[in-house]
């Protein structure tokens, strides 16, 4: 593959293309993410939405170099272009370090050029890769706050460590001052007592804030928040969202927010990417979410419906949801994988739809341009607008 195919998108701080993540189970490789693509504009926030098991966390972790899959297999490219530095393909670096190719790889994956094994933490090459990311200035807010804090060390020492990432020359006093500053930034009590706490002494909300502080203390230019509000009480959730909004709204911070909470994504983000079962099915500006009638992938539509129903207090369970509960990993097979849950497909099968069901059964839809900067992986394509009004016209009769 020529270098041009993997050039960074203009004005994007992170361009991920063709990212494929798999884990080896026995003799087989089980794919988790396939054909992942992301574009994070400089200064903008991308929201990555999907239900649990869609692979969004693994995707972003792989792109950040934090994959904990062992043994993991991956390929693709993730190009960071931060400021005026040369664009760096993080996944590319790995190719050079892996001397071993999984057997049979060339026949099965003729388009994949780079396959490597996810290396465990203390291998020098892995550390070099992380050092690269650090130089670029990236931060990660992990999903489980208590798990991401070292339970044996006090909050203070971990914060001081993080501060030293951005300011390696700071002495102890300066680093502590920095730590206190970041505590204040996340609305925690910035005093020595807080610094002296152990992670298990923090409440859920406090721990989440500490983690945000830890990520910010490195003064990153690129920040990833992985499910920042999952598992928190609703009032804390509101506070955290407000905090993130304030932090990420500051001019030059770009980032990704991963969540299955659509309203939060709508509030925080500039761009949207939707993942279903390891594949990105929609990518576009946040305005594309619009209202219930906007043209979106059927899965995005379903997510919007659910969010709306929750917001209004209705509990509507569509039959298709029950039919396909909780699958993980990429589904391999012919045709569009969403068709078991797709309302459009069901209607077309019943004879009154806009889709050509044969296509849905035969081919996997690729991301298709339906509007400026908005791509959807559905064979309905531009007809999605029709589908919207038509479907909701019926729904109003309920």
């Amino acid at each position: 593959m020529s270098a041009a195919a993997y050039a960074p998108a203009p004005g994007a701080i992170l361009t991920a293309r063709d990212v494929w993540v798999g884990v080896q189970v026995g003799n087989l490789i089980k794919p988790i993410v396939q054909g992942g693509r992301l574009t994070v504009p400089t200064g903008g926030i991308l929201g990555l939405v999907g239900e649990s098991g869609s692979g969004k966390t693994q995707f972003v972790r792989m792109v950040m170099g934090l994959s904990s899959l062992e043994p993991g297999v991956f390929s693709g490219s993730a190009i960071y272009k931060i400021g005026d530095t040369e664009p760096v393909d993080v996944l590319d670096q790995i190719q050079e370090f892996s001397p071993f190719r999984p057997p049979g790889v060339d026949e099965l994956y003729p388009e994949r050029q780079r396959i490597g094994w996810a290396w465990p933490l203390w291998r020098r090459r892995f550390r070099q890769r992380l050092a690269l990311l650090r130089r670029l200035g990236v931060g990660f807010i992990f999903q489980n706050p208590v798990g991401a804090l070292n339970p044996y060390l006090r909050v203070g020492s971990q914060l001081v460590e993080a501060v030293r990432v951005a300011r390696p020359k700071a002495n102890r006093a300066e680093a502590e001052e920095g730590a206190l500053h970041w505590l204040a930034e996340v609305h925690l009590k910035a005093d020595r007592h807080t610094l002296g706490l152990y992670p298990h002494e923090l409440s859920g909300g406090m721990a989440q804030r500490v983690m945000i502080a830890l990520a910010l203390a490195g003064e990153p230019k690129f920040l990833v928040a992985d499910e920042p509000t999952t598992g928190l009480d609703s009032h804390i959730r509101l506070e955290i969202v407000g905090l993130l909004n304030r932090i990420m709204g500051q001019g030059d911070l770009s980032g990704i927010v991963i969540s299955h909470d659509l309203p939060m994504i709508a509030r925080l983000c500039d761009r949207l990417a939707v993942m279903y079962r390891g594949r990105v099915v929609e990518e576009g500006p946040i305005e594309a979410l619009g209202n219930l009638k906007s043209p979106n992938h059927p899965y995005t539509r379903e997510l919007k419906e659910r969010a709306e129903a929750l917001a209004q207090g209705k509990h509507r369970r569509s039959g298709s949801e029950r039919a396909d509960a909780g699958g993980t990993g990429v589904v391999v097979g012919r045709g569009c994988i969403f068709r078991t849950r797709c309302g459009l497909y069901a209607r077309a099968k019943a004879g009154s739809g806009i889709l050509d069901t044969a296509r849905c059964e035969g081919d996997l839809p690729a991301l298709d341009h339906i509007a400026e900067g908005h791509e959807v992986a559905c064979f309905a394509g531009t007809k999605l607008t029709e589908a919207a009004t038509w479907e909701y016209g019926e729904a109003d009769h309920d």
Binding site: E70, L121, R134, A148, Y152, E161, V165, Y198
Partner: protein, 396 residues
Amino acid sequence: MKTAWLVGQKVGHFLAVLFLSSLVLAGLLWFSPGSPGKARDPMNFEGAVVDTTRVCITRTDCGVLRSVPTTPPKSVDVLFGDDLRTFPATDVVTQGGAAIDYDTVKLRQDAVCVGDECGVLTTYPAAGPRTVTVEVDGVLEEARAMDALAPGPGFLAWFGGVFWGGVFTWDIGPAYNGEPVLGLVMEGAKFTLPIVFGALLLAVVVGLLQVAFLTWLPFPSMRGVLRTAMLGLSTAPVFIIGYFMTKAGILPNPDVWWIAPLACIAILSLGDSNLGELLLQMEGEVRRLRSRDYIHAAGLRGASAFKHMLPGLVLPLSSIGAAKIAFLLGSVVIAEVIYSVPGLGELSLKAAVKPDPLLLVTITVFITAVVGLVALVRDLLEIAIDPRVRKAQEGG
């Protein structure tokens, strides 16, 4: 301070288990033929009180004293025809009824009388043995005072005073060869403890090296094979490894005193699945730790992953080590006999076949104490390193 309370709790647990385990063994000892509860020393009747003091007439039959030993009256034997009878000397008189002058009386000649009967004297007056009466199990028994034995200590008195008291006064009792038991145990411990801890250390070091090697190995599928191979190799019983090493020429050499213990360390750490199991457990711990988010986070921050992993590793490793010590102390018996190291293992085997139950019990209690101490150290380490343990106590 809450930490002090936690520490006290752990120490108390250690002491309680030690106490109970030694109690059980001492109880076993008490009912065995070599029991130190048996009467042993001759009884001293000075200060003995009738109906109160306990006396033993044999090693096992003991009862309440019913009469103090008194000097029995002198008695003489008188022959009445064919009938020989004994009478107190004062009852025997001459034919005329006067007292007999024993300086001049002739045996078997002069006639003497007791009451109405008369016969001849056959013995001069002699004091009989002092006797005592003891009520044993409701039956009044008579026994010679010089045969009487002082009752052995009661169980609790012995257990508390002699056994555990002996630990502090350095005198528990004699072993089969007459030497003090505690002295023998300490002599043996001088060999066994370094061997056991040395074997543990060696196994941990080799295990860590192997874990590092397996992690580095760029061929993930080979890891399982190597792991299993290591486990298989290490399953060989200690005696087989020792046998082959002896055959191969690593013999206990009297000139080089450290070869035999070193060889013991080597075969102990390798054999009886020690190394294999240690490797598996350590690898599991390291793998579990590696996937923790905080290690990743630290790596992203550029912090030394090692510094962050260390506290998380020390605790599981020390738990594994504490469990292994018990196992090693068992296997060391075999290793010591193979290499003729005069340690506790060999001593316990000797004590088992002699048999010398007291020595055996003392060795066992000592070993149990060592195992318990190691577990205690591990618990204290946990209190020191893991703040969650301290918090759990504070939270109540």
